[in-house]
């Protein structure tokens, strides 16, 4: 604040070249007037150290950066119409007023304050405006990305948690961790989560947890509430602390619709403590155990299978020649069977064919034979008839010839000649003597007549005494 130029018409003698010295009482009065002439403004902050006298209430209005002593006349406070007890420590309020100064007196102490004439509880709009301004500032400084660049372990063995000791968030977080099958170590750092002490306490707890090397992630969590209730988590100092930690911070403050500034600077912002558990321990341990068992089984089978498959392959290769031979043998047998079957089929077919041909040939032969026989029969019948006719004719001819021959023969029969009185000279043996010489030569002979024989002898024959017999003549 600039030094007020108050001229009292007295020149300064000792000391530096400054105006004065002035009478302090008069200076105080001038100071009081000057302050009251300053422009009236609205201030927003958290109420602390509330006290009352008979005529006024006094308190400090502060935030993370500083504080101003404030006072309000009781009549102005009553006119503000705040609920009973609303002006209390920790309340976020907006006050309207200006600078004021009580110059004191001979025994009374002087006092500076911001004289509030109006007061109201801070609304969402007031807080959101402050929140947005802080967010813009932190973002501009690059503090919202630092945590997000940290590496988070999928399976931390130890995590730190900052929360209220008796809050539901603690229970929900534990349930979430157990649901993931995680049985590591939780280091609790309990801290108030809603008042002007909360932000410094939370920041201190975070620093203490981050200082422990075994802690791999930190969860900051509390249940839902109004923005004023959650305002500690929008504290600038706290958010700067979080941004600078080496351990990733998971924030889960309020409900899904609540967005506090710590969510901006944390590594992960979650809507509920349950989600915070999943973010702090990204690995679902139950699922991971099942998957690991499956992978172990796969590897065991992989090794055994690789050897087994190759052994089988080798065995298969070793059996190849024999299998090939067997295959060829099988093919050969099959062919043989096929040939045999085909042969039998061929033979049967040929037999059938031949039988058919033979039948046909025989039938034709039979028919031809029958035809021939029939023709022969017919011929025979014709020849027979001719023969019969010829025979009859021949017989008739022969009979005629025979008759003629008989007639001729009869005509030449000596007997017939004898019958006509002729005699036939014959030797005693019956041989005919056909000449006189033959009779003379025979001497003795027979004359056969048709009615008997007569022995005779030639005259030259001597007779019986001359050696011939004449008695038979």
């Amino acid at each position: 604040m600039a030094n007020p130029q108050i001229s009292l018409g007295v020149s300064a003698t000792p000391g530096p070249d400054l105006p004065g010295p002035f009478a302090v009482g008069r200076y105080a009065k001038k100071l009081k007037g000057w302050m009251r002439e300053r422009p009236r403004v609205l201030l927003i902050g958290e109420v602390t150290g509330v006290g009352r006298s008979k005529v006024q209430a006094y308190f400090e209005l502060r935030d993370g950066e500083g504080a101003v002593p404030c006072a309000i006349w009781l009549r102005d406070l009553e006119r503000a119409g705040l609920p009973d007890g609303a002006l209390r420590d920790g309340a976020e309020v907006v006050i309207a007023g200006g600078l004021d100064y009580y110059e004191g007196g001979g025994t009374a102490s002087p006092n500076f304050c911001f004289r509030a004439t109006h007061v109201r509880l801070a609304g969402e709009g007031d807080l959101l405006a402050r929140l947005e301004a802080l967010r813009t500032q932190l973002r501009a400084e690059g503090l919202t990305t630092l945590q997000k660049q940290l590496t988070r372990s999928a399976l931390p063995k130890t995590i730190g948690v900052v929360t209220a000791e008796g809050g539901a968030a603690r229970r929900d977080l534990l349930a979430g961790l157990e649901r993931r099958g995680w049985g590591g170590t939780v280091v609790w750092a309990f801290a108030p989560v809603q008042d002007r002490h909360a932000a410094p306490a939370i920041a201190r707890a975070l620093q203490d947890l981050a200082a422990r090397p075994e802690i791999e992630a930190i969860v900051v969590t509390r249940g839902g509430g109004s923005l004023a209730d959650l305002w500690a988590f929008c504290d600038e100092t706290l958010c700067r602390t979080v941004a600078m930690l080496r351990v990733p911070v998971v924030s889960a403050v309020g409900h899904e619709r609540d967005t506090t500034l710590i969510d901006d600077v944390a590594a992960v912002a979650c809507s509920t403590p349950t989600h915070a558990a999943e973010a702090a321990v990204p690995l679902d341990c139950r699922g991971a155990r099942r998957e690991l068992g499956r992978q172990a089984l796969f590897l065991r089978r992989g090794a055994d299978g690789a050897i087994g498959a190759r052994a089988r392959h080798l065995g298969s290769l070793a059996r190849g020649p024999a299998r090939a031979l067997q295959r060829q043998r099988t093919i050969l047998n099959q062919k043989t069977r096929e040939i045999r079957a085909a042969s039998e089929r061929g033979i049967a077919e040929r037999g059938a064919f031949q039988r058919r041909i033979a039948t046909i040939v025989l039938e034709r032969t039979r028919r031809r034979a029958l035809d021939r026989a029939e023709r022969a029969g017919e011929k025979r019948r014709r020849h027979g008839a001719a023969l019969d006719s010829a025979a009859e004719r021949a017989v008739a001819q022969r009979r005629e010839a025979l008759r003629q021959a008989a007639v001729a023969l009869r005509a030449h029969d000596p007997e017939r000649t004898l019958e006509r009185g002729y005699a036939l000279a014959e030797t005693p043996d019956g041989e005919p003597l056909t000449s006189a010489a033959a009779v003379a030569a025979a001497g003795r002979f027979s004359l056969r007549f048709s009615d008997g024989r007569v022995d005779a002898r030639t005259a030259a024959d001597p007779g019986p005494g001359a050696g011939g017999d004449q008695g038979d003549r």
Binding site: A154, G183, D208, Q295, L299, A306
Partner: protein, 78 residues
């Protein structure tokens, strides 16, 4: 095969999945398959150890108690 232990669980799982993908592809020869299986079993043992470390039930400690214990152990009279 890696010559050193895995940096952490995530690295072990990542390598394990690489190994399984390689084995799944069927392109690894016998020697490589055996090496990969041996490495994979080591990784499975490591991961199982990590899971066992967080598998014996949740333990709760209080930061204030830890700090007090630390202070008492640091004190020469304790």
């Amino acid at each position: 095969m890696t010559d050193s232990a895995p940096a952490n669980y995530e690295a072990a799982v990542e390598r394990l999945e690489e190994i399984i993908d390689r084995l799944d592809s069927g392109q690894a020869g016998l020697r490589e398959t055996l090496d990969l299986c041996r490495e994979g079993k080591e990784l499975v043992d490591y991961c199982a150890g990590e899971l066992d470390a967080v598998g014996e039930g949740l333990k709760e400690l209080n930061l204030d108690d830890l700090a007090a214990k630390l202070d008492s152990s640091a004190s020469p009279g304790s």
